[in-house]
């Protein structure tokens, strides 16, 4: 279990360089607003094409400019909690949660809908449309959707920013369990020192 990222990303106005390698566990991406954290997450997920470098997950080359290799997002197995959530507005919360779950091969699934609902506290929301959710409710649904898709790498872009202390505590516990029991590697973007301190096995700083 290892993740190796060494990329240069060009956004219209700025160039972002990220270079880090981690084993299993949680890597915190740290850095000021606009440093490029979300861009790095998108690059790992295969949604943004770096101009140079390579990305390797468990010895599996996901991206390599030199080799002209660029694995498609759906073949990378990266579960993403987007900073802007991106819930499907036309589907119920249930169908949002099950979207990736239905597409995952059964042996990749490590969570059931019921379990996810319980520990995220979203069981009562299943028949609602995302537009009617509160900020924190939507964020929890986005976390559930990513977990249920049975990813082999979790990319969490400020996943707890809209949650109250009690909820955060609970979900951090779940993240720890996933890390320890499933040995799933994760990249976590967070601005909160306490979160990083508690969860991160390694910290990567993105400069401004």
């Amino acid at each position: 279990m290892s993740l190796e990222v060494d990329v240069v990303i060009q956004r219209t106005t700025r160039r972002i360089t990220a270079h880090f390698a981690t084993g299993a566990g949680i890597t915190a991406l740290f850095g000021p607003s606009g440093a490029g954290k979300s861009s790095v997450i998108e690059a790992i997920a295969g949604l943004l094409r770096p101009v140079a470098g390579r990305i390797v997950l468990d010895g599996d080359v996901l991206f390599d400019v030199a080799q002209g290799l660029d694995r498609k997002p759906e073949a990378r197995g990266c579960g993403v909690v987007f900073q802007d959530l991106r819930l499907f507005p036309h589907r119920s919360v249930r169908d949002n949660l099950l979207y990736g779950w239905r597409l995952a091969s059964p042996d990749r699934r490590f969570l059931t809908l019921d379990d996810a609902c319980v520990f995220l506290g979203i069981a009562s929301l299943l028949d609602r449309r995302p537009r009617t959710l509160s900020g924190g409710e939507a964020q929890r649904v986005a976390i559930g959707r990513a977990l249920l898709s049975g990813p082999r790498l979790l990319l969490l872009d400020e996943p707890l920013s809209s949650l109250d202390a009690a909820r955060r505590e609970e979900i951090m516990g779940v993240i720890e369990r996933i890390r320890d029991d499933l040995r799933l590697p994760m990249v976590l973007v967070s601005h909160r020192a306490d979160e990083v301190e508690r969860l991160a096995d390694s910290v990567v700083a993105l400069g401004d």
Binding site: G46, L47, G79, V80, R86, F88, P89, A146
Partner: protein, 227 residues
């Protein structure tokens, strides 16, 4: 109130209109997708081609259809081998209606497709959906308002289609005499005004029905609105 003849005309108009719209819908969607999502050298030309039935007078379109899909036309020969003939048949009336409705339908769908947030499809990809599945499960349902609008516009246009139809498949009772052709015949006769008004009222009633149905459908899938 309606004579059996009237009923036959209404039934034929509905058959022609529905077949035209249902067959055109996938074609229109594919064209809308190509125009909304791809960039290639001939794109503008394709766009112009799609608009052609709108720009040319219907009679000219009927004439072109006759050249292409008549018994001696290249497409006509091809379809004849498949056992489908258009000339003087209701199938030809449906083809004419389909061609004339196409530009309206493509535009409506395209407008909706272009408004779909590409970041949602990106999210679907990370959840394991290939590009086609992501499209079918995200962009397609989100563009349903456009598809619905296309259906209404296409059906209305089909119900009103006259020039291309009469030129292509002429005016044969029971086969190609749809409402507009019946209205036209009445209009040509001195003193046929009352008949015109009656048939026009039927057209309007039909389209009102289609509108009510579409609004009901829109309300049922109301949650689809992204807003």
């Amino acid at each position: 109130m309606l004579s059996p003849d009237d009923w036959a005309i209404v039934a034929l108009s509905l058959k022609v209109g529905l077949v035209a719209v249902l067959l055109t819908l996938p074609v229109a969607f594919a064209l809308a997708w190509v125009l909304a999502r791809t960039r290639f050298p001939g794109r503008l030309l394709l766009d112009a081609l799609v608009h052609l039935p709108l720009v040319l007078p219907p009679v000219v379109m009927g004439w072109l259809l006759l050249l292409g899909f008549g018994a001696n036309g290249p497409f006509g020969r091809f379809f004849a081998e498949l056992g489908v003939t258009f000339l003087f048949r209701w199938t030809g009336a449906a083809l004419a209606a389909a061609v004339m409705a196409l530009p309206l339908m493509v535009r409506a769908i395209r407008l909706s497709l272009e408004a779909v947030d590409p970041r949602l499809e990106a999210a679907a990809r990370t959840l394991g959906a290939g590009p086609w599945r992501a499209f079918a499960t995200v962009a397609l349902p989100l563009s349903l308002p456009g598809v619905l609008a296309a259906t209404v516009l296409g059906l209305a246009r089909s119900l009103g289609e006259f020039g291309a139809t009469i030129t292509f498949v002429s005016n044969i009772p029971g086969e190609t005499r749809t409402l507009p052709l019946a209205i036209y015949s009445a209009l040509q006769m001195p003193g046929g005004d009352a008949q015109v008004v009656r048939l026009a009222a039927i057209s309007v009633a039909l389209s009102l029905g289609a509108l009510v149905a579409s609004e009901a459908l829109a309300r049922r899938m109301g949650g689809t609105r992204v807003a």
